[in-house]
């Protein structure tokens, strides 16, 4: 990989005045870097909206039989929390922010293949989000179905499910268009010399994710459209009272929504695969194994959807098949973890905030992954299904996994994105309550689930009370860490020290351009001559 520093007289993308100035210069810009910042700002805003709903839910569980909110409001809260966090934060996730910002530069390109379509994707995203917000305040109250919109309840409830489902339908277009754009970009815009096996691992992960977005999202679109049609016209696809099949809904929903879990986690794994070699200052262990495991996760991950349905009354044969496939999909994930850890072995470790958050990701993801294998076992799943164990497991994967990887990627690429450096001390200080609070909150949920506490109940029996108090206090500690983290980064955007073009001594192409990057990234398209993590050159050998 070429590490030659590219200097340019061109203004950087933050200062550039194009056809429009000010806010319009951002809202109408097709520059992939500005689109990435649009995603970042909107997604972090939605993230804190989701955190607020979670905070209130935990507060509610501080007493066994509270009178703080009604059961119906609690139902609306967990629906809001799930829809916002999943559809507006973790699904667009690292792909939307770092895929947009980093992908073209790391490939040696000046932009994505379809810049206008890229901006249109963000507008679909914001349009869907606005419709979701409207659904909260119109009709007969906010949706109360949970983020999965399970039939037949979603067909019967009088709340504003139709509009909520339509919002998710619109958001799907954003996801599909981004997927098409990134696949085309990776095929068409790689720098000369950058074969697929000289491509860094983040683009590999984005590539696998994008294919899943293209292939799986239409299934969700069709399913949600059928829910809308059934609510409006009573066509009887999913409603058993009309000859429909609610288990069919679950199949169709999870055909998308399980791959969606990998849509959320794969780019996170890609970012971790960039961070570890940089801070170990050595090439990644098992490059091809990691690259192919991304593809294997995308492939097998698309075939395990019905492990969410072991208690739905599915056939025993079906249960067996999906249980087996679930065990298989654990293998490529384990391959990645092994290779990451092996990369650190005998590396020249440079312990900086991005590495701290990346290591936290590996630890938390391992707990999330292994508790997932438990649930893949048929007999055990009958006991654990629909308990707090599921909530704990899911948050270990989605928040401990994707969330911490998002934080790791943010602190890794922050100097490149904004040309500023944050306070390392602040990042360490933020990490401590975040990590401790996270485990207090979600590990306690795993225990609660094993003891039989059902999920989505707005009250609890006295025997669960102590654990609920521990989890709630954990949520306060974790949120304080989040506030320090994002507050420090926001401060650094405006007041941080200037960052050099390559503060981490990394070797991939995005670090060869100035920070922040110029509008068209490169004066001359670079030529790639080495494999992607060629640290030997850095050391002068």
């Amino acid at each position: 990989m070429s590490t030659q520093q590219h200097t340019t007289a061109e203004p950087n993308y933050l200062e550039y005045d194009g056809k429009h100035n000010g806010l319009l210069g951002w809202l109408l810009s097709t520059d992939h870097k500005r689109v990435a910042i649009l995603y970042l700002v909107s997604m972090v805003t939605f993230f804190f909206a989701g955190v607020s709903a979670g905070f209130v839910m935990r507060l509610v569980q501080l007493t066994p039989f509270h009178k703080m909110i009604t059961a119906q409001t609690y139902n609306a809260l967990f629906t809001f929390h799930g829809v916002v966090m999943i559809f507006l934060f973790v699904i667009p996730g690292l792909n939307a922010v770092f895929g947009n910002f980093v992908l073209p530069i790391i490939l040696g390109a000046k932009d994505v293949q379809f810049p206008r379509l890229n901006l249109a994707s963000w507008y679909f995203f914001i349009g869907g989000a606005l419709i979701a917000v409207i659904a909260l305040f119109t009709g007969n109250g906010p949706p109360d179905t949970g983020w999965s919109f399970y039939a037949p309840f979603s067909l019967k409830t009088g709340t504003n499910v139709t509009l909520g489902v339509f919002a998710a339908f619109i958001l799907g277009f954003s996801s599909m268009l981004t997927g098409i754009n990134f696949v085309t970009t990776i095929h068409r815009l790689r720098a000369p010399g950058m074969t697929f096996f000289k491509m860094p691992l983040f683009p590999w992960a984005v590539y696998a994710t994008s294919w899943m977005q293209i292939l799986a999202t239409p299934v969700l679109a069709v399913t949600l459209l059928l829910v809308i049609l059934e609510r409006l016209f009573g066509i009887g696809i999913f409603d058993p009272a009309k000859g429909g099949d609610p288990v069919l809904y679950q199949h169709m929903f999870w055909i998308y929504s399980h791959p969606a879990v990998y849509i959320m986690i794969l780019p996170a794994m890609g970012a971790i695969s960039e961070i570890l070699p940089t801070f170990a200052q050595r090439t990644i262990f098992g490059y091809k194994a990691i690259a192919f495991s991304s593809i294997a996760i995308a492939g097998f991950g698309s075939l395990v959807w019905a492990h969410h349905m072991f208690t739905s009354g599915m056939s025993d044969f079906g249960n067996m098949i999906f249980s087996l496939l679930t065990m298989v999909v654990a293998v490529p994930s384990a391959i990645k973890v092994f290779n990451w850890v092996a990369t650190l072995y005998k590396g020249s470790i440079n312990f900086q905030p991005p590495l701290l958050y990346a290591l936290s990701f590996i630890f938390l993801f391992c707990i999330g992954g292994m508790t997932g294998v438990w649930q893949g076992a048929l007999a055990l799943d009958i006991h654990l299904h629909d308990t707090y164990f599921i909530v704990g497991h899911f948050h270990y994967v989605m928040f401990g996994g994707t969330g911490f990887a998002f934080f790791a990627a943010l602190v890794y690429w922050f100097p490149k994105m904004f040309g500023r450096m944050y306070s390392n001390t602040a990042m360490y200080v933020a990490w401590f309550p975040m990590f401790i609070g996270f485990n207090m909150l979600y590990f306690t949920m795993l225990i609660l689930g094993m003891q039989g506490m059902p999920r989505r109940y707005y009250a609890h029996l006295p025997q669960y009370h102590l654990a609920h108090v521990v989890a709630t206090v954990g949520s306060w500690i974790m949120i304080s860490g989040l506030l320090i983290f994002f507050g420090s980064l926001l401060h650094a955007v405006f007041r941080g020290k200037k960052a050099g073009s390559n503060p981490w001594h990394a070797v991939t192409l995005e670090w060869s351009v100035p920070s922040p990057p110029p509008v068209e990234n490169f004066d001359e398209v670079p030529t790639v001559t080495h494999e992607p993590y060629h640290f030997a050159k850095e050391a002068g050998s």
Binding site: H251, S302, M314
Partner: protein, 100 residues
């Protein structure tokens, strides 16, 4: 962009003949008739009819009316991937339905 537009004579004709179009249309009408006929023999026959005859009809439309026949192997391959993906989903779905 394909270079078919610049060198049309080097490739096979880009459109099916009128005879082919009419033959495919008649085949589609006959297959639709078969579907209607099968629906009179109960739900099971109707479902099997839908699962077998409808993809056949869609295939004819893709191949002739939507000009898949005249596309290059890459596009045909992409369509094949989509069909195989759909088939895998269907087979897994039937691992539940067929054994319920």
């Amino acid at each position: 962009m394909s270079d078919q537009s610049t060198h049309p004579t080097e490739h096979a004709p880009l459109h099916p003949s009128y005879g082919t179009v009419v033959a495919v249309w008649i085949a589609l009408v006959v297959l639709t008739g078969c579907l209607v006929l099968l629906s009179h023999f109960g739900l099971r026959a109707a479902v099997w009819g839908l699962l077998t005859i409808t993809p056949l009809k869609a295939g004819l439309v893709f191949y002739f009316f939507m000009h898949l026949r005249y596309e290059d192997p890459l596009l045909k391959g992409v369509i094949l991937v989509a069909i195989v993906t759909l088939l895998i989903f269907l087979v897994l779905l039937f691992s539940d339905v067929a054994f319920a």
